[in-house]
């Protein structure tokens, strides 16, 4: 397992992957007659170069944290929840209903109400596929995909009919009342004359997402339920032998997963749009799958991957706004980064591991075997012993 120092695993490999993606992207940009250096500069400064940029990056990242955590929790039980899209859409319905029809005295209470409603609605949407999987063996991938379409149809019906204010073209609910508007980063971090995060959608929901990352970590690694979920994921048969009920684990895991996906609506519906818009999720449910994969289903990994995806989204927007690069080409560049950092991870990892293994074999002080070395010792010059291949 431990074939190279941790710093190489955490920093070196992602850096090499990003570099490879950047080289190929540069080729793509050259092919369409753009200056790759200029594009890189815009992408970086546009996504992390100012509080304005961070205001968008963190908004997108917040969305991806929720859906990424949803997929991550389910995958610990070897369940592939592909229904984040629908669960987040229905979560939005929950947020809209409580924000529109309950009188909230203060935003903090409205936020709590929205958290509860979106989690309940999202969980409810995951419950039927979960029970079908647990009791009837209907495959969760198929049922959750189908529930995405049912959610889309339901919201389509509601936002064209009952929930839409009469006379407007927009397929959206009425704006939420003033008292439900949660503070944006601008409200929170601007002081006096200095206005930070001006006009950006990032809001207090980001902290809800970060708190959930911690809670999910506690759940998976520090609680009995988390232990059962992981045991079930490693081996269903062994888990059952140990007295862990598979029905309970499948249903509970999916409820948690659905609730996490549903809570994404706090960010995009309560936090940003302040009304429920048709198709508000915009594929974040599916991005969550990539985020969870890239983050190795660990909350810290999900957090970092969500930030990376946020950077890609916001950087991509800036490329379109500043250079007029067609959005299809932006998707190509985003896809290259995802491909290299996520899917082609082993392509970089294996040669680097071999390199380190060779260096280690030469090192006089390091005995063979799975011992972890401090990076300093690995980096020491070790040319005294000939390499044993």
């Amino acid at each position: 397992m431990d074939r190279m120092p941790r710093w190489a695993d955490v920093i070196l490999i992602p850096l090499i992957s990003l570099l490879l993606a950047a080289i190929i992207s540069a080729g793509v940009l050259l092919a369409i007659g753009q200056n790759p250096w200029e594009a890189l500069r815009i992408m970086v400064s546009g996504s992390v170069g100012s509080t304005y940029a961070w205001g968008y990056t963190l908004y997108y990242a917040t969305n991806f944290m929720f859906t990424g955590l949803a997929v991550a929790v389910a995958s610990h039980a070897r369940l592939f929840n592909i229904g984040g899209e629908g669960q987040a859409a229905i979560g939005g319905l929950g947020v809209a209903l409580v924000a529109l029809y309950l009188p909230w005295p203060h935003w903090s209470l409205a936020l709590i109400g929205a958290v509860v409603a979106s989690a309940l609605f999202g969980a409810a949407w995951a419950a039927i596929p979960a029970v079908l999987q647990a009791k009837r063996g209907s495959h969760i991938v198929i049922t959750t995909i189908m529930f995405n379409f049912i959610a889309a149809a339901l919201l389509n019906y509601l936002l064209v009919g009952p929930l839409k204010p009469t006379g407007t073209m927009e397929t959206a609910t009425a704006p939420f009342p003033e008292a439900t508007h949660v503070p944006s980063f601008r409200d929170m971090f601007s002081f006096g004359e200095t206005i930070l995060f001006r006009g950006t959608p990032a809001n207090v929901t980001f902290f809800v997402a970060v708190a959930l990352c911690v809670l999910v970590w506690l759940l998976i690694w520090k609680t009995r339920l988390g232990y059962e979920i992981r045991a079930f994921g490693f081996s269903e048969g062994a888990a059952r032998y140990a007295g862990i009920g598979s029905t309970k684990i499948i249903v509970v895991t999916m409820l948690i997963s659905g609730a996490l996906a549903g809570m994404m609506a706090i960010n995009n519906t309560l936090g940003e749009a302040e009304r429920l818009i048709l198709n508000a999720v915009e594929g974040a449910g599916f991005i969550g799958i990539a985020v969870a994969l890239m983050g190795r289903s660990h909350p810290l990994g999900v957090f970092l991957a969500a930030i990376l995806f946020g950077i890609l989204y916001q950087g991509g927007s800036e490329l379109g706004l500043m250079l007029g690069i067609p959005r299809e080409m932006i998707v190509v560049i985003q896809a290259l980064v995802i491909l290299f950092t996520g899917a082609l991870d082993n392509m970089v990892r294996m040669p680097v591991e071999r390199l380190f293994a060779r260096r280690r074999a030469r090192a006089p002080l390091s005995p063979p075997g799975p011992t972890r070395h401090p990076p300093g010792r690995d980096a020491a010059p070790t040319s005294t012993t000939p390499a044993a291949e």
């Binding site: 889309a152 149809a153 407007t168 001006r198 995009n268 048709l278 500043m322």
Partner: protein
């Protein structure tokens, strides 16, 4: 492109200063989520902008939205770069524009398909129900079975407006006619799903439909293709689609988004504000007649539809607009 990137520094400064900067950076166009090559509404706007660019030899800034929060981002960014007028197509931008427009009083905004009541906004709306009434009248007269079809994209109020006008036209020609209505889907994928549209058309044909009207963006191509394959008549939408299947497309309901965009860009920063209604009267909507559908449109049909158009233009005939009360006298959705 290089011109645009020089504004990078300026816009960054404007952002830091927190104020709007009035510059003359020319017009900007913001396309909706469908993308500028949607064979329909956005493409029509793109064609209008291109026409302006070719005529004047000047360039314009453009952006294709991929996410909802980008609406505000793009409008603000273009305003801070000094673009005017900033033209956006699509009714979903109405709410963001209504909030942003007062922040940039020096900038002119144009929104197509929605009304935003701000002193620096021109709102262009089309009377799609009138144009649809005309093609419905033609469908009702051309149909031999007395059953006509309507294939919409997503079931949204705008498409119901098309369908309702169409149904009224059909009923005006033949009060006993049956109208079969279908939608291609419930997600935005519905605008670009010709295969599904094709299946729906086949299903409608099996119910006796012999004229079908497609108001479904890119999906409409599937309707027109299937109708041509099965020798029934079809009606195109937004741009003139008669040429796609000569002799098989009865007509097209043209909605001149391109003219609206072209006109606004030609007027430049001096564009007139207020609500501009594009109807049958000012050729904002209408039916298409060219060499491809000439043989299909008989003298009788042409006389009837021209008379109806004149009556609508003079105000003698009112076509019910679905949006006024969200109900339709001729069709239930």
């Amino acid at each position: 492109m290089t011109k645009l990137s020089t504004f990078l520094g300026a816009s960054a400064l404007a952002l830091l200063a927190g104020g709007a900067m009035a510059q003359d950076a020319g017009p900007a166009v913001i396309f909706d989520l469908g993308g500028k090559f949607d064979k329909s509404f956005n493409e029509s706007a793109f064609n209008g902008a291109q026409r302006w660019a070719e005529e004047t030899g000047e360039s314009y800034a453009e952006f294709e939205l991929t996410a909802e929060p980008q609406r505000e981002q793009a409008i603000r960014r273009f305003a801070e770069q000094g673009h005017s007028p900033i033209i956006m197509v699509g009714f979903m931008s109405a709410t963001p524009l209504n909030e942003i427009a007062p922040d940039y009083p020096e900038t002119k905004f144009v929104i197509v398909d929605a009304v935003v009541e701000q002193p620096n906004v021109r709102s262009v709306v089309f009377n799609e129900h009138e144009g649809s009434y005309l093609v419905g009248l033609m469908a009702g007269m051309a149909s031999e079975s007395g059953t006509v079809g309507f294939v919409g994209g997503m079931d949204i109020p705008l498409i119901r407006k098309f369908g309702c006008g169409y149904a009224q036209g059909v009923k005006a020609a033949n009060p006993d006619a049956t109208i079969v209505t279908n939608f291609t889907g419930t997600t935005p994928a519905a605008w670009n799903d010709p295969a599904r549209a094709s299946e729906l058309t086949l299903a409608q044909i099996s119910q006796g439909v012999d004229v079908v009207y497609a108001a479904a963006g890119g999906s409409g191509l599937g309707v027109l293709q299937t109708a041509a394959d099965n020798d029934i008549l079809s009606i195109g939408v937004d741009s003139n689609q008669n040429y796609l299947h000569p002799g098989e497309v009865l007509t097209s309901m043209v909605k001149r988004v391109d003219n609206a965009v072209h006109e606004a860009m030609t007027a430049g920063a001096e564009v007139e504000v207020g609500v501009q209604v594009m109807g049958v009267g000012n050729e904002g909507v209408g039916y298409a007649l060219d060499e491809h559908n000439q043989p299909l449109v008989t003298e009788e049909i042409k006389a009837a539809v021209d008379q109806a158009a004149a009556q609508i233009a003079s105000g003698e005939l009112t076509v019910h607009d679905y949006m006024t009360d969200e109900s339709c006298p001729a069709l239930t959705f």
